[in-house]
Symmetry: C2
Subunit: 278 residues, 2 copies
Amino acid sequence: MTSDIAKNARPKARVVKIEHADDPRLAPYRDIRERDLVGRTQRFVAEGKVVLNVLLSSARFEAESILVLDNRLSGLEAQLRLCPEELPVYRVSQATMDEISGFHVHRGILAIGRRKAIPSSAELLAGLPERALVAVLCGISNHDNVGSIFRNAAAFEADCVLMDETCCDPLYRKAIRVSVGATLKVPYARHGSIEDVLASLSQEGFNLLALSPSGTQSIYEASPAPRLALLFGTEGEGLPKPLLDRLNTARIPMSRDFDSLNVATASGIALSRFSRFS
Amino acid sequence: MTSDIAKNARPKARVVKIEHADDPRLAPYRDIRERDLVGRTQRFVAEGKVVLNVLLSSARFEAESILVLDNRLSGLEAQLRLCPEELPVYRVSQATMDEISGFHVHRGILAIGRRKAIPSSAELLAGLPERALVAVLCGISNHDNVGSIFRNAAAFEADCVLMDETCCDPLYRKAIRVSVGATLKVPYARHGSIEDVLASLSQEGFNLLALSPSGTQSIYEASPAPRLALLFGTEGEGLPKPLLDRLNTARIPMSRDFDSLNVATASGIALSRFSRFS
């Protein structure tokens, strides 16, 4: 830490000016767009003030550092007051930020976050109340869709999201951004086969309802169970037929004349229908 | 037209092989990504087989030409049989298609479409039945959102979409693609101020319901009118307050703890709720 602390704010966090893109303290921010495509570590990238707010108030994630444009600092006073003193906050010029990150960061606020603990689906389910709503995702590998589904899960206060291992990581930069931080907010687990996930749910007394254009009941006719798990599959192929043959199924009633809904929209409609708010 | 007709299909349309990206017949396909960003003509670009199907069966739009990868021709027999003989169908290599269009066209199927007639909102409304559902968009300028809203409007068979002049053109390449062709299927008009649009609706006996997180009724409590128009505003700022003060408003009931829904998702939930299928 240097003594170069921003003077126009009175944050707890120390704000350190960094002049050069090759400063080793910026290494976690290097080429974040590229890295997003090729792999993951335990760390993730949060973008923008709204997502930073979620990260800073999260029990399951913590910030490792924050990187802010010089001219965005004054808008972050409240956030910086929340930060522990030991959390590094770096400020840079737009040119430095764009150079290090590999694209134009128009929001001007980035943070590196880290998972503190990764609960299993069994642990998550064990902690749920008597009335609970869970979203279950099978094979959803599109970052936008995963992000949007989490945003809907947060809006309708689903208790958690369970994903099989073929779903993409909800901590991809784009998934976090599209979710407006909901992937840092809604508890989730992502491991095992869909069969494993469904077995855990049955064991905890959840009623399963698999969403499919060929579902037998309309979601508006299906009666909500106290513990309900809504199962969503990929947009193109949908849920595996052996699963659909075995589970209770429901459809969003719609035109037969047109391609089905986007899976994220379908999740919004079904979660809204079965949320405690409706 | 040359005599180089594909032999493995028996289409009505003549398929012409083009070898060079600078062939003038390919001019409408040049740099389509760039042009999408800078302006519009009466023409638009359709991508992929599903959208091509919609275009070829449309009463309000027509294809001017089709551009297909050599190796995708055999999958288009049914479509090519639908085409009038005078419609040029060009086939090219992947390299030529990517060079002319300015990006990697992995779907391998492009078409240039054209509007035949542009109805006004008054004309559209005059043709609607006694029971009708209309989506009204105010200031929605994001192509993805406009495309998704049209996809939802098609899925729930909204009778038309009315947009004020500050909405973006639903014939942008990306809006058409995200809509899976629905912007070519669901009748729409886009002109005038939102006040003009609402005045036309009132005149035709439509009940207006403005969707807003601060809406007075839940969408699940609001009773559907025979002629119902659902009004959606931008995601960030929502509908102008003077409008909300004056109109009947409804909210999608949700958590107060989280950022509101994406407007496209909100349209899916509200259209599903009030569709003839629910």
